[in-house]
Amino acid sequence: MGELLTATHNFGVAPTRGTSATDTFKAALYLASATYNASTTAYSATGEVSGTGYTAGGITVTAATPPTATNSSATAGVAFFTPSASLTYTTVTLTTAFDTMLLYNSTQSNKAVAVYTFGSQTITAGTFTLTMPSNTTTTALLRLATT
């Protein structure tokens, strides 16, 4: 399972990975009026927040700890990953309400990984922090499970 998160296996018709280096993941914020969900395929600037201190594309995600996998049986297990630091947008002013964070892979053509939503917020000359959950099989930010 953990190998799925590290792209060890390629079930496609041709390998698309040309490097063993870790990809760069980024986190972008989107307005409450924007529509980002499981149908989102890649980062887009459409509907992204804008304001003092915020750079289009968002911030780089710190991924110092590689994915982990545990198997509870021969056919069941969980692979999981959590960024190793909080996502912090420091000293920004975002006056239009936002409620979505898109996690995407900027190394792989900005392809989307996951969409997270939260209560609508604004920031005024302040800091927006997304604290990461504990990196466990039940709470990690990304979890792939078989049962």
Binding site: N37, A38, A114, V115, G119, I123, G126
Partner: protein, 63 residues
């Protein structure tokens, strides 16, 4: 304590402090606001996510 505001760095003793929090199945969120003469001059938010995301990519996976 000094805080960044829309008026520049200010001592919090000069400002009105308001705080709030939300704790539900999706998130635990706290916010801190500083007001000066009825004007919001600083707002910071701290969100801890609890729920699984919507996996993006426009594809459905099954295992």
């Amino acid at each position: 304590m000094i805080v960044t505001t829309t008026k520049g760095d200010m001592d919090t003793s000069l400002l009105e402090n308001r705080t709030g929090e939300v704790d539900n199945d999706n998130e635990a969120t706290t916010w801190t606001e500083y007001w000066l003469d009825g004007e919001l001059v600083h707002r910071s938010v701290h969100v801890t996510l609890k729920k699984m995301p919507s996996f993006a990519g426009g594809e459905t996976a099954s295992f």
